[in-house]
């Protein structure tokens, strides 16, 4: 509450990060640090590097703003699909300079479309609302880009039509509910020469990019990664409903491939429309498995079923465990992935386990934002702490000043735990959208082009196939290519 000076009982890590440097150093702080630098010096140094890294990012971001302000052409943008996910993307885009919103297309005119149009008008954008995407493409000739967040089974047609109409496309994952659909998207991007970014937004998340480039690439902090574990668990929740007065007439629903309003709202659970939680949630994280391991899997084994919900309305599996096998450059690796929708225990994270260290990471700034553990026998990380790649550890061994002394006896210390010192200050999807618009402007390269999105679609859609087949399935290397 305003006016109170007492902090919440449990400050999340994001909070502690800043407070820890502002508060007065106590005795425990003085003991922080490593042997090779004066204790406080290294801690202070690592912190200043962290700050430097954050400031450089902010400077780069404001340079982008300045470029837009300096007369860089604004991009004309349309939104195709403004349900829950489209709203998230719109929210992020509204914070970015250099975009001019021109149109919103959504078949739920009474609710989604109306809300998005009203929101954009608050921001003084003159936007037109459409029900049919072809009509939008006919009438809005000067669009540069379309951001697509429709149900998965519409992605291929929407994307291909937009690309052929000469627009760059950002399309939400899963790229498509079928590989044929996904392939047609890759081909359309190639034919038209237009950009197609797939919405695996972790690929642009500064913390994930830092881990991929610096911690795993340059510093190889984990050694050889042999095992990966990831999950996204969600508490049970009712099917999505809708305000009665805004129901879509049944003829319009049928026209767009939905049997009922309930199916329209809960399309993710239906075969032929979506792919279930393994695709909705798992796809984000299994994409990271492939990226961080630098390989596509060779095999997958999976178990799953509709264990809790009504199978009539939940055709896809509410509970899934998948095991991937990889042949990485360094040898075999195995990755376990779990998703279930009856209990949210431990939320979501990815855990990369190497023979020299561990990385636990998630997209969230609230839970599992990035922790590193060094195996006590692995080489020290002093160099990487000094470079600002990882945070200084907590209490640590301090070498005695006299070289003849073997051990400095003192109060017990904790094993190493380090933070990944990269904080996202923007909405979760903003960096990936920014990467898309920067690529259109020619100042960046796509972080998740169609070909990469396709590899992930191949990897993830095979889980549902393996569950149905009840056996271990193999991937051929050429399966991942179009």
């Amino acid at each position: 509450m305003a006016g109170e000076d007492e902090k919440a009982d449990a400050d999340p890590p994001g909070q502690r990060e800043d407070e820890s440097v502002e508060k007065k150093f106590d005795r425990r702080d003085v003991l922080r640090g490593l042997s090779t630098l004066p204790a406080l010096g290294l801690f202070g140094y690592a912190w200043s590097r962290e700050r430097g890294y954050q400031q450089a990012r902010r400077a780069a971001a404001s340079a982008g703003n300045a470029a837009a302000a300096a007369g860089q052409a604004e991009l004309n943008v349309a939104l195709l699909g403004v349900g829950a996910q489209g709203e998230v993307l719109l929210d992020a885009m509204l914070r970015m300079p250099g975009l001019r919103f021109r149109a919103v297309c959504d078949i739920w005119k009474e609710y989604n479309q109306r809300r998005a149009v009203n929101l954009l008008r608050k921001y003084k954008f003159e936007v037109n609302g459409y029900e049919d995407h072809r009509e939008m493409l006919d009438k809005e000739q000067d669009l540069d880009a379309v951001v697509i967040a429709t149900p998965d089974f519409w992605h291929a047609q929407h994307t291909v039509d937009c690309l052929r109409a000469g627009k760059h496309v950002y399309c939400e994952k899963e790229m498509s509910n079928t590989l044929e659909g996904a392939r047609s998207m890759v081909l359309a991007a190639r034919e038209t020469g237009k950009l197609l970014q797939i919405g695996h937004q972790r690929r642009s998340h500064p913390r994930y990019r830092h881990c991929h480039e610096k911690l795993l690439g340059e510093a190889r902090l984990l050694g050889r990664i042999v095992t990966v574990n990831g999950q996204w668990n969600r508490a049970v929740s009712p099917d999505l409903g809708w305000p009665e007065r805004y129901a879509i007439p049944s003829d319009r629903l049928r026209q767009y491939g939905f049997k009922s309003m309930a199916q329209f709202r809960n399309w993710r659970w239906y075969k032929g429309l979506g792919g279930g939680p393994i695709v909705d949630l798992g796809s984000h994280q299994i994409d990271i498995f492939n990226w961080f391991l630098g390989a596509n899997p060779s095999h997958v084994t999976a178990s799953g079923g509709t264990d809790y919900h009504d199978p009539a309305t939940h055709e896809w599996y509410d509970t899934v465990m998948a095991i991937y096998e990889y042949e990485t450059k360094e040898g075999p690796a195995r990755a376990f992935y779990q998703t279930q929708t009856t209990n949210g225990s431990q939320g979501y994270f990815e855990n990369f386990m190497g023979d020299q260290g561990t990385l636990v990471i998630s997209e969230s700034e609230a839970n599992n934002p990035g922790l590193l553990y060094r195996d006590p026998n692995a080489p020290g990380w002093d160099e990487w702490i000094r470079k600002g790649y990882v945070s200084a550890p907590g209490l640590q061994e301090r070498k005695p000043e006299d070289e003849a002394v073997v051990l400095d006896v003192r109060e017990s210390v904790s094993p190493d735990q380090h933070r990944v010192p990269v904080v996202l200050r923007d909405p979760y999807h903003q960096p990936h959208l920014q990467n898309f618009f920067d690529s259109i402007r020619g100042t960046a390269k796509l972080h998740c082009p169609a070909e990469v999105g396709y590899e992930t679609a191949v990897t993830v859609l095979k889980v549902n196939e393996a569950i149905e087949a009840k056996r271990r399935l193999s991937f051929r290397a050429e399966e991942f290519r179009v």
Partner: protein, 281 residues
């Protein structure tokens, strides 16, 4: 009577309502709780990528864009800061004037360094008001919404009563002495106290206040509009925690719709505006 609960903003939000279709009401409540989560993501100072965190990390001269709801909250907060003569202060004494709000561009610019916002004294009430709007879209009118028991909005009463029966209880530990009974309809209430914390600090003077509890009931928002009444009630109860009773009485006279109960050192004071400038009852 249907009850749906959800953990958010370091407490529990709850919707109690009367509706013939339980499944429909549950779905409405789920949508409402998703909305509360979105607001928390924007307004929590504990989340590094919230609007509030971005504002708190602005350098002098820097600006950031915020959502329409964050901007609305900031504008109400700034007005209430002025109207309570600084007693309601989301900057907790760090200088709200150091921020420029540009509402038409949804932009906040830092004019001074070191401004730190904490929307803890307004966010729950704001969320409760937005939930009420959502329930209205779903045609659920007989409902009681609360955020952590301290921000309460009574909409239309259950069919068998004139209002939602509520009590105000004494803050002494281990004691459940009812100080007042209220039948609330189309009315927002907010409670603040030192029960969970040993003191609260006056943002204007840094002076600490102990052993005080405040309840506020309002019929409309600070501008008389019913869509911001829980927000209004929460800002008032926060401000009344640090204001001397004569200033509270003065403010109650400004807003004829406001009623307040204050317990200080085990003495109860009830204030409501009277037609001819009275206040103490």
């Amino acid at each position: 009577m249907l009850r749906f609960a959800h953990a958010a903003m370091a407490t529990v939000f709850e919707i109690r309502c009367v509706h013939a279709d339980t499944a429909y009401a549950r779905q409405a409540a789920e949508e409402a709780f998703r909305l509360v989560d979105r607001l928390e993501q924007e307004q929590s100072r504990f989340l590094a990528n919230s609007d509030v965190s971005r504002i708190n990390h602005l350098s002098v001269g820097q600006a950031t864009r915020v959502s329409p709801s964050t901007m609305e909250c900031l504008e109400i907060a700034r007005r209430m800061h002025d109207r309570t003569r600084g007693a309601f202060d989301i900057s907790v004494g760090s200088g709200l004037d150091g921020l420029d709000l540009v509402p038409e561009e949804f932009t906040v610019r830092a004019r001074a360094a070191g401004v730190r916002l904490d929307l803890g004294g307004i966010a729950k009430g704001y969320a409760v008001d937005r939930v009420a709007e959502l329930l209205e879209e779903w045609d659920i009118s007989r409902a009681l919404i609360h955020g952590g028991w301290s921000s309460v909005l009574a909409l239309d009463p259950p069919p068998d009563g004139d209002g939602w029966p509520l009590t105000l209880s004494a803050p002494e530990p281990g004691e459940q002495r009812v100080l007042a009974r209220i039948s609330a309809r189309r009315r927002a209430m907010s409670a603040s106290g030192t029960r969970r914390r040993d003191h609260i600090r006056d943002p204007r003077t840094g002076r600490t206040v102990r052993n005080r509890a405040v309840w506020v009931a309002v019929g409309g928002g600070e501008d008389g509009h019913p869509t911001s009444r829980a927000t209004f009630a929460e800002t008032l109860s926060t401000a009344f925690m640090v204001l001397p009773p004569e200033d509270v009485a003065d403010l109650c006279r400004q807003w004829p719709d406001v009623e307040a109960w204050i317990v200080q050192e085990r003495a109860l004071v009830h204030l409501a505006a009277l037609p001819h400038g009275g206040g103490w009852r």
